[in-house]
Symmetry: C2
Subunit: 168 residues, 2 copies
Amino acid sequence: MELKQVLLSRKSCRSYTEKKVEKEKLEAVITAGSLAPLGLPMDGKPHLTVVTDPAMLKTLNGLFGPEREVIYNAPALILVSCPSSAPGIPEMNSACVVEMMSLMATDLGLGNIYLYGVCAGVKQNPELLKALAIPEGYAPFSALALGYGSEGVAPCKEFVPTLTRNDI
Amino acid sequence: MELKQVLLSRKSCRSYTEKKVEKEKLEAVITAGSLAPLGLPMDGKPHLTVVTDPAMLKTLNGLFGPEREVIYNAPALILVSCPSSAPGIPEMNSACVVEMMSLMATDLGLGNIYLYGVCAGVKQNPELLKALAIPEGYAPFSALALGYGSEGVAPCKEFVPTLTRNDI
């Protein structure tokens, strides 16, 4: 799709079908993450953990108890982990990686949603950090859940500014 | 452009011509920022400060002394300010807004670069915060400098994964 169509079609998808994400699509999404701008890359680039194992996905989905579906039962999750760096850098770098992946997923017809709660939960859980093989010295900051959304992907927004602004 | 072409063409532009950004292009870039996903929007959405005044741009460019050109003499700068929220949210939200704007700028043939140093400098300077009319309770976290890059915009990367990963 043209960029503008992708931007107008991207939305946070909170309901997924059981259909798995094809390997080629998952690889394209992951590759798009490599095209993000990074601040202070000399401190170490982000690391991706690609989760498609049903048992692990179920564990992560129930991370905060049975009543809250943390990853919306999505069939795939990509955790973006970063090393220590200047304040705010891991958050900003991981956000940029997730956004590149989110737009590529949208372009490929995949529902997706930017998540940070699941990262906060994993970060505080040494057993999960180990089970997910997050590299030593790294912690997850942002994540993308993805799969086939129950509602499909189509332009759903208008190209109008909605943020407040001032001009100098 | 197709999304993939935009992703492959986006790069951090550190040299600009003196040509100003047309109003329509600037508006399109700003509008793209409205299409970013936001965490905890109930705490307050990001606010944009669009700087094209030559005197203010010069002040910001020299924020850290005459030897470091903080905004690379770009003819336009968009500061993304956020209110207080949960830890990391202002950084992640502002990053998402900047990335949407960065890709739209790239699509429109504009060189651009994601900046955070200028925000850190402004944040610590009460006079500048006032001169920039940053809303009370808000602070700038991320910014996009933009203009016509000396090298133009064209695909400059390969679609190959460069981040480390593991699969679960």
